[in-house]
Amino acid sequence: MEYLIHLAILFSIYAILGVSLNLVVGYTGLLSITHAAFYGIGAYTTAILLTKTGVGFFNSVILGIIVAIALSFLIGVVLSKFKGDYYALGTFGFNTMIFAIFLNWQNLTMGPFGIPGISKPELLSINFANNFNFLVLALIFLGLIYFIARFITKSPFGRVLKAIREDEKAIAVFGYNTPYFKLAIFSISAAMAAVAGSLFASYLTFIDPSSFRLMESTFILAIVILGGLANLRGAILGALFLILLSEILRFVGFPPDIAAQMRQVVYGVILILVMLYRPQGLMGEYKL
């Protein structure tokens, strides 16, 4: 039972990441390979605040969101002029740089050793050190983010995003300032990823830079692409599928180190196969 709860918590975190990345990749058609950077920014903000200051978990979530929005704004201002492969390259580079910061700004992040002893959230005398309570908390966050995402995609703003995806020049002719829309959705998505990061840090009580490298961004991208571009339920399905798949690999009896690599092989191959045979993913409404 404990184990199932653990899996469900991991699933909730990755579902948040998948849903939020889908806003950028699926709805707006911008190939972002940097989601793990914002995930990490949320995680590190929470970890640093909870271990070094008296700020509580929920305030650290808000601060994580603010930091993620600030950084995504800085890089987004540059990237929003672009689309396609240049966008992908820019985000790729950004993830590498943020990873370098996690690894090398030792005074703040403790570098490769990571930050241990992150406390669990507490609210109105409910202690989330209990995993079941934590799961409820994670699901509440997932539900909130899902509904925000749904609201965005159904709103006029969301329709502009889809129009940008289909034909950016045409929608620009109608007087829409498309870089502004691309920047806004990139920052919203980054903020959501930061929430997932805060949950992750507080749940594991230990983080190190290795959880936020480019391969993690690729994994989140695989969730979105497998589940379905421009379909929020698809992203949740993708998260469920890939989390279960990783666990199955552990059960097959690979040693932990090999299992982690096998996971990479599997989702790398999944990316290739989906591109070859079903470029819109399982439930997708849009082909790259």
């Binding site: 002029k81 090398n104 999944i270």
Partner: protein, 288 residues
């Protein structure tokens, strides 16, 4: 040993490696017009092949190098044959090809880690102590001298291939317009297959040279890829000379950048250079 001459030498050495990666990357980009993210992992394949053939099997070192270069080329050719070619035939967008190459990179890198563990390895027992040369007041090892010479040779060879041979003419025709090239009777798929072989073999060679200079690890391709792509973009993507120019510019900026700050920040410096170019000259130095 004075600091400035040494920094200049280091810049040229780093620039040569980046140039080798950028040459292969641009060669492939010119013919196919997509960002082949699996290009970097070819370097790791070359490096590990030499490690396996020379150190584990004990073959002659020169023979192992030839095998390593060939193996990287064959893997690149195979990727084209089994993944990119079917996608191109279906008129898949560049984004689909990019995501497929991201999947290939992820999977291949993990396969290498499974076969050889993810620990850092060196070829050094096979080479013995290196001869040191003094040039212009700086010190350079024999390997590094070879790196510079090999890069110069490869550049000359590639220019000869592109501008003086029938094959080069076909490649340039495909670069201009694949459709038209096919209409005038060029077997474009076959030519692009060879382009992948040559481009990937060059990346393999770069990986082998890095292996002799420092060492190899499964994730080495990621850093090399990023530097090679940044070099290509700032020089002018798809332009052979542009890639080389960009590579040396990147080498100089990186190495002079760490004059005052510590060396781990090279990636961040490279990314900053990319952003500066994306803001002010997104098409690169050479492209209008």
């Amino acid at each position: 040993m004075e600091i400035v001459p040494q920094l200049i030498l280091n810049s040229i050495i780093a620039g040569s490696i980046y140039a080798l990666i950028a040459l292969g990357f641009n060669f492939i980009y010119g013919a196919t017009k997509f960002f082949n993210l699996a290009h970097g992992v070819m370097a790791a394949i070359g490096g590990y092949a030499v490690f396996y053939f020379a150190k584990t099997l004990g073959l002659n070192l020169y023979f192992a190098v030839i095998l390593g270069v060939a193996l990287a080329g064959i893997v690149g050719y195979g990727l084209d044959k089994f993944i990119y070619l079917p996608l191109r035939k279906r008129k898949a967008s560049n984004m689909v090809l990019l995501v497929a190459s991201l999947g290939a990179m992820t999977a291949l890198q993990a396969v290498i880690a499974i076969l050889f563990t993810s620990r850092f390895k060196t070829f050094s027992q096979n080479i013995g102590t290196q001869k040191l040369f003094e040039v212009l007041g700086g010190v350079i090892t024999q390997t590094q001298l070879i790196i510079i010479l090999v890069t110069a040779l490869i550049l000359a060879g590639l220019v000869f291939l592109l501008y003086k041979t029938q094959f080069g003419k076909a490649v340039r025709a495909i670069s201009d317009d694949e459709e038209v090239a096919r209409i005038v009777g060029i077997n474009t798929n076959k030519i692009i297959g060879y382009v992948f072989f040559i481009g990937s073999a060059l990346a393999g060679l770069a990986g082998i040279l890095v292996g002799f200079d420092t060492g190899i690890e499964p994730t080495m391709g990621l850093g090399l890829l990023l530097k090679g792509v940044i070099a290509s973009v700032i020089g002018g993507v798809g332009n052979i000379y542009g890639g080389v120019l960009g590579a040396f510019l990147l080498g100089f900026v990186e190495n002079f950048g760490i004059w005052k700050i510590s060396g781990e920040w090279k990636d961040a410096i490279a990314f900053t250079l990319l952003i500066v170019f994306l803001i002010f000259r997104p098409r690169g130095i050479m492209n209008k």
